[in-house]
């Protein structure tokens, strides 16, 4: 009986202690961030969305290789010799047309591993987190600014140049081969002579 009464007493006491704590909180101001009206400032380097300054991209594909998820897809075409693509803001010369630069943000895992390898700092995380969509396909971001016509044009040109190069290479190789054959035959001759 004494036990029960003692127990009841501790129960009451602890309940009132607890209610005291909650009452204190009831009178305290709340900690809530009123989101659409107020926003927290994101710390520098917050990882929320990938963005590419396509002007600065040199098409080295280092980010694509660093990505563990493979959500970056880059296709490049080598610029023909007659075109000068200029330089990036960091001073690196650009040698490739970036025909495709797609980042699928619906796959991205926001690990930030594509950012450090970039030599021109053109890919970066921007503090923008409000981009939910009704359609999943809208989460595929296309950064390449080339129009479809331009892409085909560039591709054709590059192919042509490539063919030209191949041809030249082949020719050179043939020449080299001929030379080599010449040399070996000469050497053989020498050997046999020796």
């Amino acid at each position: 009986m004494v036990q029960t009464l003692k127990k009841s007493w501790t129960t009451f006491k602890t309940i009132f202690t607890g209610m005291g704590v909650t009452m204190r909180h009831l009178l305290q101001p709340s900690v809530t961030l009123r989101y659409p009206e107020e926003r927290d400032e994101l710390p520098s380097g917050a990882r929320s969305k990938l963005f590419v300054h396509i002007d600065d991209c040199i098409g080295c594909k280092l980010c694509e290789r660093a990505c563990p998820v493979n959500c970056i897809a880059i296709e490049t075409v080598q610029a023909t010799k007659d075109v000068d693509l200029g330089k990036t803001s960091t001073g690196n010369p650009k040698r490739f047309w970036i025909t495709t630069f797609n980042i699928d943000m619906s796959k991205c895992m926001y690990c930030d591993m594509c950012v450090p390898p970039c030599p021109t700092e053109c890919i970066s995380m921007v503090p923008e987190y409000e981009y939910s969509e009704y359609d999943r396909n809208n989460l595929l971001f296309q950064f390449s600014e080339l129009s479809a016509d331009k892409v085909t044009e560039v591709k054709e040109k590059a192919e042509k140049e490539q063919e030209e190069k191949q041809r030249k290479k082949k020719e050179a190789a043939r020449k080299k081969k001929a030379q080599k054959a010449d040399q070996t035959s000469k050497a053989k001759q020498k050997n046999s002579e020796g």
């Binding site: 900690v31 929320s48 796959k107 926001y110 939910s132």
Partner: protein
């Protein structure tokens, strides 16, 4: 269709104001079925917690799907889980909405390539209304997803109801499934 019908088809005052009242009620009281699956569930909890406070928007959790209006699919959906999600969705009462939270439920996310046991996007089994990107999305991003959903609801009409891919099927005996 008569002339009068045509005239008032889009701008029937009574229907429009009723419609807006009903839409207002629906969008103001989105109770969510907490479908916490993985990492995003923790952020979902954080959103419901004091610092971001879902309740400001009238969004509260319900543990029974019957009373929920919106299902937040928060996390990786695996093949083992897919049928359960479908089933829980069927148990929700119309009008019902789905928010896909985070990369995993959007499209399989980080696990889309070699994840043999991961469903590549929850939209393969249930229709999704809003996709919230992030891995996991910040609480603010989830709230923004809700604002997007509210926008969508306020544009709904009584005359042409929202298209849903699935008919509401026969009810299940139990909310939690038995093998």
């Amino acid at each position: 269709m008569g002339l009068l019908d045509k005239k008032y088809h889009d701008s029937n005052i009574i229907i429009v104001s009723l419609e807006s009242a009903l839409n207002w009620a629906r969008k103001s009281s989105l109770w969510y079925e907490q479908f916490g699956l993985a990492c995003c569930a923790i952020e979902m909890m954080a959103t419901a917690a004091s610092d971001y406070d879902f309740d400001r928007f009238g969004i509260i959790p319900r543990s029974s799907p019957r009373q929920a209006d919106v299902m937040i699919v928060a996390g990786t959906v695996t093949m083992k889980m897919a049928s359960r999600i479908e089933r829980l969705y069927e148990q929700m009462s119309e009008p019902r909405y789905v928010i896909s939270m985070g990369s995993c439920s959007n499209s399989g996310g980080p696990y889309w390539e070699h994840g043999y046991h991961v469903l590549k996007g929850v939209d393969k089994v249930i229709p999704v209304d809003v996709y919230v990107p992030g891995c996991p999305p910040r609480p603010e991003a989830l709230l923004e997803g809700f604002l997007k959903l509210q926008e969508r609801i306020s544009n709904e009409t009584i005359i042409e109801p929202r298209e849903t891919e699935q008919e509401s099927t026969e009810e299940e005996k139990e909310p939690i499934e038995v093998e």
